[in-house]
Amino acid sequence: MKEQPPSTPRSELGRRNLLKATGLGLAAAPALAACGRGFGGGGDDESGDGVTLNMVWWGDATRAEKTQAALDIFIEANPDIKIEVEYQDSGPYQDKLATRFAAGDAPDLMAMRMDSLREYADRGALLDLNEYGDDIDLSGLSDNAASLAEVDGSVFGVPAGLNAVGFVIRKDFAEQYGVEVPDGNTWSWDDLGAFAQAISDASGKEVYGTGFDVQTLQNIVVWVRQQGEDLFTEDGQFGATEATVEAWLTMADGLRQSGAYPPAGFFEEIGGGPEASYIAQGKLASQIIPTNNFLGYNEACGGNLVLLRIPGEAQAVRRGQSIDCPHLWSVAADSKHPKEAVKLLEFLTNDPEASIATGTTRGVPANESVAEEIKDSLEPDDQVATEYLMGLQGEDLPRSYTYPPGGSAIADFLDVIAVEVEFGRQTAAEGAAQFVAEAKAAIAG
């Protein structure tokens, strides 16, 4: 919103008291008090000689199990380090992380969202891993992966795994309605439209041909890059033009009007995982998913999914797909045990044993040789996703730049105008103009 000058504490005492006071913050006092004192805290463990690291992340119980398996290996090798783990859903996680920093009680090692990275890093809250170059080796990461958390020559995180977006198609519906599954390496957006239309027509709209999220940034990013633009440019600006955003909205609206895509109001907040998704319920024949969720979706769809690239890659001005990550691991600048935290991070990133334990719950290991090494031990669906990603990684994709501060608000703006256009309350042109203006204003602050 506003520019953030470097911190100039008036008096240390005043600032500390204030931070404590505000940590209790506003109306959410009880909840915040709980997170300040109740859990973790990550300070010294006075009872023994060792140190206790506080590690926080978001995810579900399955991910927790796999993560714990990896941590157990680490603890066995490092008996003097204890690890207190906290995990929860991604929404509350985000709020809690912010308040823990505000309360001066930051965790040592934490999952960091890509779109929040610079909100924290630019304000000096995260450790520059380049300063710990002897403790962590990032040379095994591809350029695509290593640059994800790089800001002006400093590295503020390591990808916990790599993923990308992919188009999944239910081949059982394709067969049932006699429509051929397109070739994922060469298909165009028109091919997607034709496929989806054929499914919707043949099923009498029992099954809609496609239902990818129009309002998800990860999806529109591919489209924007295909037009030769960047959503976020190298110098941290918003780079998509109105024409490109309008074309995206118009394309989706055209599919909606022709019945290839479900009508306005069809998608409701149903929550839940892949099992609850519309494609698993049999109401959609295709959609876009993050590749690290392929296993979950394929299981929910009875093993009937095929994983394709995003349409238009062969026809576009340039490649649109990019290597992304579900989240980064970052270390707090204020961590009392940065060396130990970095050691744990080194283990998670570069030790094949860690990745064998965690599998690809957070995506394909960022270290390429580790990824290669664990591939055969993965379940078949995870292997499909891993091969898909490693295929992309071997190609010459234009670099993508990380979210500038203020960038996390942009997802909300897109969500609003996508609905406005969906219900015909705004034209695609109006929506695109509003979105671009709001996005630029948010980044300008």
């Binding site: 919103m1 920093f101 969500d415």
Partner: protein, 314 residues
Amino acid sequence: MSVDTESAVMPGAVAPPAPQVKRRRGARKDRAGYLFLLPWFIGMLFTIVPFFASLYLAFTDYNLLNAPKWIGLENFTAMFRDPVLLKSLQVTFIYTFVSVPLSLAAALGVAMILNRGIKGLPWYRAVFYLPSLLGASVAVVLLWRYVFGLDGIVNAFLGWFGVPAVSWTSDPDYALTTLIILHIWTFGSPMVIFLAGLRQIPVMYYEAAAVDGASKWRRFRSITLPLLSPIIFFNLIQSLIASFQTFTQGFVMNNGGGGPANSTLFYNLYLYQQGFNQFNMGYASAMAWTLLVIIAVFTALTFFTAKYWVNYDS
């Protein structure tokens, strides 16, 4: 006894000052009272400190990570230029001014039906009260989402009458309406208070009016409403304040987003987003204090009009 209960129900009514003679004994009694209040005072500390901290923060640029920086009134002037904030105010005002009168009317209506001496009154009272215990809870809003979903009960019901299915929760034209209906449904606590008030109106007034040949409507207008007006006043203030602070319904409806298209972005929800998602805690604090002023103004207005319609000489 009856005076005590009445003044407990009517905050507008001022209790007569206690006689001076009993002062010593009163002081000891007071001490016991304060002792019982101790947990509350301790709890208050956790409210008071953040309360004043947020007042200070309202005049700062504070991103949670760096020290707050004094910027004077900038947060407040920025609010006038923030279209999303104005949208959230609009949502909150529509919600309040539609749902508060309607839910009070529903509460009074049901209370009057229950007051006619039907059998099993406690049971009915509990049943009607139940929704207001659950109304703002996450579970009920989720349930509501299914009831009003595209394949939900409401659309199935309307379908019998040939009304085409409406997406009640994901259509920006209907989502707020759905939440207003949810609010009206949770009329239980004003209803219970109305019921208590209705029982205090002496039956003889109605009997006398009936003898004089007054119609039902006339009896309602000339006896029930005036004698119940202090309680209506109380319920109105309570509901207004609670309604301006609505948060959960908008938060749960669209996974914390206030969607679709910000149509359920309540003021408090936007405040929360600014503070905890966008790291604009200074701005969020300014919003909180502005809401306090808005609520104070509307409460004051209600108090001001009270002398024209609230009747205290029963």
